[in-house]
Structures are given as structure tokens and as C-alpha cells.
């Protein structure tokens, strides 16, 4: 299972750090220092995951994502030195799956890569359109509009259900507030973000075993939410 990873990073020291990290985990990888050659590399190498630094010397990271997304859904993990949420949000809205903020720990990065890989894996062996979604103890019957946790049906309000469906359809991907608002309410009003938070909290209470240590739904403060793919043994 030699997964291929493309690293797009212009800083040598951080490049080295990522290189060491990936080597220890026996991933096959390649490092590109600028956007243009990285786009070429995506075509020729067909990576399983792309790790992208937003501050590229020759192009804007968001443009890079737009370009790549025009032909492939390969997971993209954004590395951002800028701690401003807006850059991350723009990247996520452009189609990135996840992000890490510098300075990040090695474990953090590896964990993100694993999440991304798990997503592609699950998508590979279950077609994209299916009527049942299973994740750990969570089971959604899309056609019957029912949700089961530990095999027992849970009653959700229409909005909670919609939220859960959107999250499950994009499992493993960080969904921004704007994206969720558009999906649920069709229009994006910043004033609705608090409502979204409350619905997410109530939904979590219903599906999580321990809401103070959520397993399924991750909160990214000021950014959005993500449903995690739980490994089958968990």
C-alpha cells in the first residue's frame, strides 16, 4: 500500500521536515517548489494526496486548487502560515479538503494525511451514490430518511437531518460555514452562523457517544465542521 503524496512547498526547511515525516511512514512522495511544475506533476504522478503550502512563489494557492479541481478530486491538505481564517476558508471553499496551520506538529500532519487517505479509500470501494451510509456506529438510510446509532433509530429535526446528510456526503472534508449555510438554507447570511452552531450542537448530542469528546463531527472554530471517517474497528 504505497500511497503517493505530492508536497507543494517552497520553503526548504519545512520541505525537509515533511520529507522526514513522510519517509518514516514509508509513503512515496515528491516535492515541488512552485505551482506551475506542481500542476504538471499532479498530471503525471496522479498522487493520492496533495499537501499544498498556500504561499507559493509563482501563483496563488487558491488558484492552484481551482486548477487541480477542474479535473481531479484528489484530497488537498492546505498548509497555511497565515493564521487568518479567511485564507483557509477561501482555500476550503475553492475545494481543499483540510488544512493545517503552521506551526504544526508532525503527528498532526500525519493524522490529516490518514484522514484524507481513508476518504479516498472508502470512496473507491463504495461507489459515490449509495443508499446507505455507514460510519462506525452511525448508519444513515438516505432513501428512508432514517438515522441509526448503535442500531437504534434516532429522531432528528429536518434541519439536523439535512446537516447530517451534507456532512456524511462529504465525509473527511472540512465544510465551511458558508458552504453549509448554502446547502441548508440556500442563502448565506452571516447572522445564521450562530443558528448553525446550535443545530450542530444538538445534532452532536444525538449521535455522539460522548459529546464533550466528539468522534463523528469535528468543530473548526471560525471555519466550519467536518465529519470524520471512523476506522471500521473503532
Amino acid at each position: 500500500m504505497n500511497k503517493r503524496i505530492l508536497v507543494v512547498e517552497d520553503d526548504v526547511a519545512i520541505g525537509n521536515l515533511i520529507k522526514m515525516t513522510l519517509t518514516t511512514q514509508h509513503y512515496a512522495f515528491d516535492i515541488e517548489r512552485d505551482g506551475t511544475s506542481a500542476v504538471q506533476k499532479v498530471l503525471s504522478m496522479k498522487p493520492d494526496v496533495i499537501i499544498l503550502d498556500l504561499g507559493l512563489p509563482d501563483m496563488d494557492g487558491v488558484d492552484f486548487i481551482h486548477k487541480v479541481r477542474s479535473w481531479t478530486q484528489t484530497p488537498i491538505i492546505v498548509v497555511s502560515a497565515r493564521s487568518e481564517e479567511q485564507d483557509k476558508i477561501n482555500a476550503l471553499d475553492a475545494g481543499a479538503d483540510d488544512y493545517v496551520t503552521k506551526p504544526f506538529s508532525v503527528e498532526e500532519l500525519l493524522a490529516r494525511i490518514r484522514v484524507a487517505l481513508r476518504r479516498t479509500a472508502s470512496e473507491h470501494h463504495l461507489g459515490s451514490e449509495q443508499s446507505v451510509f455507514v460510519n462506525g456506529h452511525l448508519k444513515i438510510h438516505y432513501l428512508a430518511n432514517t438515522v441509526l446509532v448503535h442500531g437504534e433509530e434516532v429522531h432528528l429535526t429536518p434541519i439536523e437531518y439535512k446537516l447530517l446528510v451534507v456532512l456524511s456526503k462529504h465525509v473527511g472534508k472540512v465544510l465551511t460555514h458558508n458552504f453549509l449555510l448554502k446547502e441548508i438554507w440556500q442563502n448565506v447570511l452571516q447572522s445564521d452562523v450562530p443558528s448553525l452552531r446550535v443545530f450542530m450542537a444538538t445534532l452532536r448530542k444525538k449521535i455522539e457517544d460522548n459529546p464533550s469528546h466528539p468522534q463523528y463531527i469535528q468543530t473548526h472554530v471560525r471555519v466550519g465542521y467536518r465529519m470524520l471517517r471512523i476506522s471500521d474497528d473503532g
Binding site: 452562523v193 452552531r197 472554530v221
Partner: protein
């Protein structure tokens, strides 16, 4: 007299100054139609074009003159605007197109033209002035008879009354006047040849206007007027020249509402021009008859306006006697010449010299007086009387009641033997009461008659008949009638004056109140609200306020008036939303000039618009809903302008205060930054020393160090770099604070999300503390900047983790208390020293960098927390936990939200 010759530098500076400011006006002046003004203007345009100037034709009269038409070729033309007015199509200058094209020089024919009423300016010279103000040079043509001050002379010579006139200052302030002159004979020949008008028209013209004598006279006037202008400019432009003229002539003229007064004013203006003197017009406001009637007031306003147009200064004084007022003013103000009309002042029996001129002569014998012949000067008071004679049925009823009572009373007195003369007094008392109580003048006269009749009927022999035997009675009746009329008319007058006085004092009250209220207004909104409310109170009309920022309308607020019904208010509010009205507002903003109803600019709209100018830019526009039929009276208008002045002062003051506050804040931030930098460089040095030192040892002495030693060094590097990361996060938060209040994004956040996020950052993987959190109720929302509050929680938690031994309990509690959310972070560690507590939050602002290295992390972190919480309107406090430990507390505003389903 040192500075007689200005240096070349001053000349250059002056030229430069003239260049950079407004556009210049070049006038091609002729003495009659057909002298070739338009031709000369076009010719000049071609010359300018050859010099590389950007010349464009804005409007040229479409005469069928081939030479003129030929010259128009090769010049860019801005298409005229076609306006449909009352079924006819008019071609007019398209000023917006010109402003958009913004040429260097624009050609506009016929300066004196009156625009079609739907246009922006009443007169074409309004357009020209606007273009000049926008820095566009204008070439224009005008005939001499159109100049305001020459109107009477021209009328005398030619017998033609010129309706389209331009104010004199346009000529006097024009940068260049080019007189286009040909011999009158040649002009007549041209006319005969049909070069000016069609043959038919030409014949007619030759019989009336184009007579040789006329032309010669007009030519002379034109040449003279131009010569005067040259002289005038010389005097005005050259201060040294001014000093040479020893005495400045000061011409005084009396303004009145008399229909012929305009002629007097124009005469005075011409005199002033010729003598290069100052020109003042005095209006003597009589105490008793303030406003005679509408037509007169209107005319008076026109005369005041005329004076201002002619460059005169208007002074208003209160005085009963015109002659005394004129004489007094003349003496005080050093007037050299007085111009008056031969006004027929009503002869009064106690004044032997009724003529103003005679009396003036008596008061100020050494003053030169010019008397302008003035035949048809009739002071008409009739309309007023008719107005007052209106009659109301209610008054009749009042009369009936009063006289019934009076008669009953008199009958009673009569029976107890009171004499006739006393009974007459009672009736006159009745007339007096009626005069106060009723409204019309008519009733006063009628009541006097009825009083006499009633007295006759009830009390004279034979009683209960209208006959009277005694021969004294007719005399008694007459005197009773006269005294009745006089008392009642006096009372009426007092009553009216009282009501005028009340009205006036009400207006003054409004003005004073405005001043006071604006002084007390705290915020911009307050100022606007108070100012507008006062204006509404004053004008008793609805008012719209447009807030302007960077010359754009930001928002508009409508202020309704109590004196109209809701429906009327709403109708007017709808009128303000019209795009036309918005257009006018935009014009007012761009030109910083009043416009709208009762002005010459956009007179066809529904409101009077005034700009509020504060330090050079327009901050707002006030629209007062007015209609043509009910303009603001002069007094109200003056008060309105005074209020507007107060208003812009208040705004100025407010902006200044805001600016000062910003500067002060900036200085404080600057201080904070400097102190921070000192503190940070100190705090950074320690961990950096550890990191670089350990890495150095590992690189150079790898072989000599044992594996356990190495592990310890690695761990130190890791710990210290972790600390640095935390430090950088704090610095980022500080940089956010540096941007001031605006960078902070207050949002409703779910408290639990925030706590979880903070915990995920601060709790190490190999945590040995017992950490718990509790939120009550579960879905608690608070208003905050999430990033900053997370940083606060991280800093406090980090402290707790660092300064308590492992296995200590750390409990985080968020609780709803009233309108706020209370956060407490408690531990059961050793607690904090009381002495330390006081300086715990002491920020880097103190500038003292005397902390020991081991205490690092505490100083910046908690001080930052305090700053962040202060910005949230909150405060961080510390108290002791029982039995031991520390509690950190801070409240935040609770968030209330309507869930959108």
C-alpha cells in the same frame, strides 16, 4: 509705499494661482445682434485649437448664417439636449455631457438665455458658472442690452424691455472681454443683405430696434461699459493702485418693495461701477407694518436679490422713519453719495417737509443726493384692507353673545339709576371685548354701529325705539361710534402685533434651543436628530436628511412634522425617494451649493436642499419639503440658515473630537507597542538561548553525550519551542488589538465549542492533570471574538497547568447569570501570593522589565488576557479557591439568538 512694483515672482505666483483654480470666462460682447460675436468666438476657438487646446462646442445658436456654419466645421460638438416642454421641443446645452467630456475650453453661445424650466439652472449663466467652478474655461457671447445694470438705459433708448438679463459681476469678473464691434452703417447693410435675419424679419427689425440712432447709442454704451470693466479690473487686481485712490466712494441706496425701486437700485449700481465705489442698499424695516402683503414681500425679496447680483451689500435696519434711518446710516458708514427714488411718501400733517429728499437734506446737508425720477410709484394698500375685511359667521355669533350680555347688564344698571354716560362706557367695553375675541376688522365696525343702535334703542327717550328726542344725542352717537371704531382697531392692531411677536420669538426660541441641544448632543446621530427636529419645528414641514460620505449618499432619514397628517407626511416622504430629487441632492453635494425650490437651480423639484459643509467636504444634505406656492418667508429662511450654521459647527466639533480621540488612542497604542517590544525581546531571549544552546551541544558533541542526556536535551528544545509558539500566538493577538476596535469580530459563539477548541490546543497529550469542564445550560451562547477569547482561555489554562503540580484538579465552569455568562477557571494548586495578585495583570505598559526569567509567560499572557477582556467590556479577576488554589473569573455578554428554521 514700498511695494509699488510687484516682483516677477509674485506675478508668476499669481498666474499660477489663477491657472490652478476655477476656469476662466471669456466674453464676446456685442452691441446688437449680427455684429459677429458668434463668428468671433468660433474664430478664437479655432486659434485655441491650433495652439493644441481641447476646444469643444457646447451650444451655438442655430442661425442660418453660412459663414458661421462654415466655421463650426472642424470643431467637436457636444450634442444638445432636446427637451420637450409643454409640447414643444427645445434644444439646450447638455451640461452633464459637458461635465462628462470635460474639455479644456467649451463654447456656449448666448449667455443671457433663459433655460427651459425643467433644466437644472434657471438661466444659462448658471450652467456657465457651474462649468467654471469645475475648472472648465468658457467662451461665451452676450449683447450689451442684457446686462442687468444697463436695463433702464437700454429701455429708454430703444423702448424695448429686455427680459433676459445677466448680473453685472459676470462681466466684471470675466477673465477677458472681447468687444466685437462694427460700424452701425455696416451692420444695417448686413441686415439689408439678409445676413442677420430673413428679409421679412429684417424689415421689421429696422423699423424698431435697428434704427441708426439706437445702434449708435448701444455701441457707445457697450464701449463705455467695457472701458469701465477694464478700469474696474485694474483697481481690483492691483492693491497698490487701490491705495492711490484716496477716498473710496460709498454709494447708499434705499430698498423698498415699491415696484420702481429696481430702477433706483440699478442706477445706484451703475454709479458705483463708474466710481469704483462700494455699494450698499439699506432696507428700513418699519416696526408697525412688517409684512404688508404677499406681492410686496415677494418684490422686496427680488430687490434684495437684485442688489446682491449687482454686487451690493444689503443692510436691514429697524426704524419707523425712513429718512432718519438713511441719514443715520449714511453718517455712521461714511457714505459719500445717496441714491433715492422720488418716492411719494404719505404726507403727514405734523411734518411740513414730507419729501424724503428734503428731510434728508435737512439731516445730512453735506451728502450728495441723487434723485431718480420715478413716476408711477404708488403705494397700494388696498389688497390688504380687502383681505382683512373678511367676515366670519362665528364672529357674528360672538357679537350676539357679547351684546346680549352687555345689554342685560346695562338694563340692570339703568334700573338702579346709573347715568347714560356710564352705560355708553359699558357698550364700548363690549366693542373692545369683541375686538379681542373676534378675528375680522369688519366686525369691529359693525359692532360699533350696533353698540350705538342698541344704546339708542334701549336707553334714549323714547325708549325701545330708534328715535331720539334730545338734540344732543346725534353728537353722543357719533362720538360713541368713533370711539368704538378707534378702540377696536387699536386692540386689533395690538393683538396682531402680539401674535407676530409671539411667532418671531418662537422662531428665536427654536434657534437658541437648537444651539443648546446641539451643544449637548453626544454622538453624530444625536446631532443629526436634534438638528433635524429643530428644523422641522421651525419650518413646520417634513425634512429629509441625507448622510453623505465621500460625496455619496450613505443613508437618508425622513423627519415627519406634527403639523401635517400621516398621509401627507407619507406622500412627501415618497416624493423624496424620486430619482429626480436624488439627482438634485447629488448636484448639491458636488457643487456645495443650495438648490431646489425657490432657487434658480432645479426650481422644479419638490424641496429646498441645503448642503452641510464641514471642513471642506459635504457631510450631509438637508431637504426641506417646500412647494413653489408656499416658499419660506425671509425671516424663517434666515433662521434656517442660522440653524444650518450651528449644525455644521456641531458636526465640525464632533469630527474634531473624534480626530483628537483617535490621535490620543494612537499615542497610547504606540506606547503600548514600545513597551511590548521591550518585554517581548526579553521574554524571547531565554527560550531561544536554551534551544540554540542545546542544538549546538547536540551538533558538536554528539559522540560524548549519553542517550538519556540527549533525550533530555531534545525535550528541552521541544518544550522551549512550544513556548515560543505560544508566544507567537499571543503576539498575533496583540497585533490584532493594535488595529483597534475595528479588527475585532464580535460574533455569537457556542461556549462549548470555544472551550473544546481551547482545550485541544492547551492540554498536552501526556496530560497528568485532572481537567473537567461544565457548561450550564448546555447550549450557551456568548458574544465574543472567538480567536481572542480562545487565546484568553489558553493563557489561563496554560498558567494553571504550569503552576500547579500534576494530579491537581482544574475545573472550567461557564454559567448563565442574568444577561451574561460567567466563566471561572479554578484549580486546587498552591494558590497565588496576595502581593503577586496585585501585579498579576499589570501589563507591559508599565515598562518595568524586572521579572525573573523563571516567571516568564506569566507577565505577557495574563496582561494580554486583561486587555482582550477589556475590549469585550469585561474584566479578569482573581480570587482564592477554598480550601486552596486559585480561581480566575471573567464575564461575557450572553448571546440571544432567534433560530432560523
Amino acid at each position: 509705499m514700498e511695494d509699488v512694483r510687484p516682483s516677477p515672482e509674485t506675478f508668476l505666483a499669481k498666474i499660477r494661482e489663477e491657472d490652478t483654480t476655477a476656469g476662466k470666462l471669456k466674453i464676446f460682447l456685442g452691441y446688437a445682434a449680427g455684429v459677429g460675436k458668434t463668428y468671433a468666438m468660433l474664430d478664437a476657438a479655432h486659434q485655441a485649437k491650433q495652439l493644441g487646446k481641447d476646444v469643444v462646442i457646447g451650444y451655438v445658436e442655430p442661425h442660418p448664417r453660412p459663414e458661421t456654419l462654415a466655421l463650426m466645421e472642424g470643431l467637436e460638438q457636444i450634442p444638445t439636449r432636446k427637451i420637450n416642454y409643454k409640447g414643444k421641443i427645445f434644444q439646450e446645452l447638455d451640461i452633464d455631457a459637458v461635465l462628462k467630456r470635460k474639455p479644456e475650453i467649451i463654447l456656449i453661445d448666448e449667455l443671457a438665455h433663459t433655460n427651459v424650466p425643467t433644466m437644472r439652472h434657471l438661466k444659462r449663466f448658471g450652467d456657465v458658472e457651474e462649468l467654471l467652478a469645475k475648472g472648465i474655461h468658457v467662451y461665451t457671447t452676450v449683447n450689451i442690452q442684457h446686462i442687468e445694470s444697463l436695463q433702464d438705459i437700454v429701455e429708454e433708448i430703444t423702448g424695448v424691455r429686455v427680459r433676459e438679463r445677466i448680473p453685472d459681476y459676470l462681466i466684471d469678473h470675466a477673465a477677458l472681454i472681447k468687444i466685437v464691434d462694427i460700424e452701425p452703417d455696416e451692420l444695417i447693410q448686413r441686415l439689408i443683405d439678409g445676413k442677420i435675419y430673413h428679409i421679412q424679419q429684417a424689415k421689421k427689425a429696422m423699423e424698431s430696434f435697428f434704427r441708426k440712432e439706437n445702434l449708435i447709442a448701444l455701441r457707445e454704451i457697450a464701449l463705455r461699459r467695457t472701458a469701465d470693466t477694464i478700469n474696474y479690473k485694474q483697481v481690483m487686481d492691483n492693491p497698490s493702485f487701490k491705495q492711490c485712490t484716496h477716498i473710496e466712494e460709498h454709494i447708499l441706496v434705499g430698498i423698498s418693495s415699491s415696484p420702481t425701486n429696481a430702477k433706483v437700485i440699478r442706477t445706484a449700481a451703475r454709479l458705483a461701477q463708474a466710481l469704483h465705489g462700494k455699494f450698499t442698499a439699506l432696507y428700513v424695516q418699519k416696526g408697525k407694518d412688517d409684512k404688508r402683503n404677499e406681492a410686496n414681500t415677494e418684490r422686496l425679496q427680488q430687490h434684495i436679490k437684485l442688489t446682491e447680483q449687482l454686487g451690493g451689500h444689503v443692510v436691514i435696519v429697524q426704524e419707523d422713519d425712513v429718512a432718519v434711518a438713511l441719514a443715520n446710516y449714511a453718517q455712521i458708514s461714511g457714505v459719500t453719495k445717496l441714491v433715492i427714488g422720488r418716492t411719494a411718501v404719505k404726507r403727514k400733517w405734523w411734518q411740513p417737509n414730507a419729501k424724503i429728499s428734503d428731510r434728508l437734506n435737512e439731516y445730512v446737508p453735506n451728502l450728495a443726493i441723487h434723485i431718480v425720477p420715478d413716476h408711477d410709484n404708488e403705494p397700494i394698500y388696498l389688497p390688504e384692507v380687502r383681505n382683512q375685511l373678511t367676515f366670519e359667521w362665528l364672529d357674528l355669533l360672538k357679537m350676539f353673545v357679547v351684546f346680549s350680555l352687555v345689554s342685560l347688564l346695562s338694563l340692570y344698571f339703568f334700573t338702579i339709576g346709573v347715568s347714560d354716560s356710564n352705560i355708553i362706557t359699558i357698550y364700548i367695553l363690549g366693542v373692545l371685548i369683541l375686538a379681542i375675541w373676534s378675528s375680522g376688522w369688519m366686525i369691529s365696525i359693525i359692532s360699533s354701529v350696533i353698540a350705538v343702535l342698541l344704546f339708542n334703542f334701549f336707553f334714549t327717550e323714547p325708549r325701545f325705539s330708534f328715535e331720539a328726542y334730545h338734540r344732543d344725542y346725534p353728537m353722543t352717537f357719533l362720538i360713541m361710534f368713533i370711539s368704538g371704531v378707534i378702540t377696536s382697531s387699536l386692540t386689533k392692531k395690538i393683538k396682531k402685533q402680539a401674535s407676530i411677536a409671539v411667532r418671531k420669538s418662537y422662531r428665536m426660541e427654536v434657534l437658541l434651543e437648537t444651539n443648546r441641544k446641539l451643544q449637548h448632543a453626544k454622538s453624530m446621530d444625536d446631532i443629526i436628530y436634534e438638528g433635524m427636529s429643530q428644523i422641522v419645528k421651525l419650518v413646520e414641514k417634513p425634512v429629509q436628511f441625507y448622510e453623505i460620505e465621500h460625496n455619496l449618499i450613505v443613508k437618508s432619514i425622513f423627519y415627519r412634522t406634527e403639523s401635517m397628517t400621516n398621509n401627507e407626511n407619507n406622500e412627501i416622504a415618497a416624493l423624496f425617494e424620486n430619482t429626480n430629487e436624488r439627482g438634485v441632492v447629488n448636484w448639491v453635494v458636488n457643487n456645495q451649493h443650495v438648490a431646489g425650490v425657490t432657487t434658480d437651480i432645479f426650481p422644479e423639484v419638490n424641496a429646498y436642499y441645503l448642503p452641510i459643509v464641514s471642513s471642506g467636504s459635504v457631510r450631509g444634505v438637508v431637504g426641506v419639503a417646500l412647494s413653489k406656492n408656499s416658499p419660506l418667508p425671509a425671516f424663517e429662511r434666515n433662521i434656517l440658515h442660522a440653524i444650518m450654521n450651528d449644525f455644521s459647527f456641531a458636526l465640525d466639533k464632533w469630527y474634531l473630537q473624534k480626530l483628537n480621540a483617535e490621535v490620543a488612542k494612537e499615542a497610547e497604542l504606540e506606547q503600548m507597542r514600545a513597551n511590548l517590544l521591550r518585554a517581548v525581546s526579553h521574554d524571547l531571549r531565554t527560550p531561544l538561548t536554551t534551544i540554540s544552546g542545546n542544538a549546538d551541544i547536540l551538533m558538536t558533541n554528539t559522540a560524548d553525550i549519553s542517550e538519556t542526556e540527549k533525550l533530555r536535551l531534545y525535550e528541552d528544545i521541544y518544550k522551549n519551542s512550544k513556548w515560543l509558539v505560544q508566544m507567537v500566538e499571543n503576539l498575533l493577538a496583540v497585533s490584532k488589538l493594535d488595529d483597534g476596535q475595528f479588527a475585532i469580530e464580535m460574533q455569537l459563539e457556542l461556549v462549548e465549542d470555544i472551550i473544546q477548541e481551547a482545550f485541544s490546543h492547551v492540554i498536552p497529550i501526556n496530560n497528568t492533570h485532572k481537567i473537567a469542564y461544565h457548561v450550564e445550560p448546555e447550549l450557551l451562547l456568548a458574544v465574543m471574538d472567538a480567536r481572542l477569547i480562545i487565546q484568553v482561555i489558553i493563557n489561563i489554562m496554560d498558567n494553571a497547568l504550569t503552576y500547579t503540580p500534576s494530579d491537581s484538579h482544574i475545573t472550567f465552569i461557564a454559567k448563565e447569570v442574568g444577561e451574561s455568562v460567567h466563566f471561572s477557571i479554578m484549580d486546587n494548586g498552591p494558590g497565588i501570593d496576595d502581593a503577586l495578585k496585585e501585579t498579576l495583570f499589570e501589563p507591559f505598559v508599565t515598562g518595568k522589565v524586572q521579572r525573573s526569567d523563571s516567571r516568564r509567560g506569566l507577565g505577557l499572557g495574563l496582561a494580554l488576557c486583561q486587555t482582550i477582556l477589556r475590549l469585550h467590556g469585561s474584566e479578569l479577576t482573581v480570587s482564592d479557591n477554598k480550601p486552596q488554589g486559585t480561581i480566575f473569573n471573567f464575564p461575557l455578554k450572553k448571546g440571544v439568538m432567534n433560530i432560523h428554521e
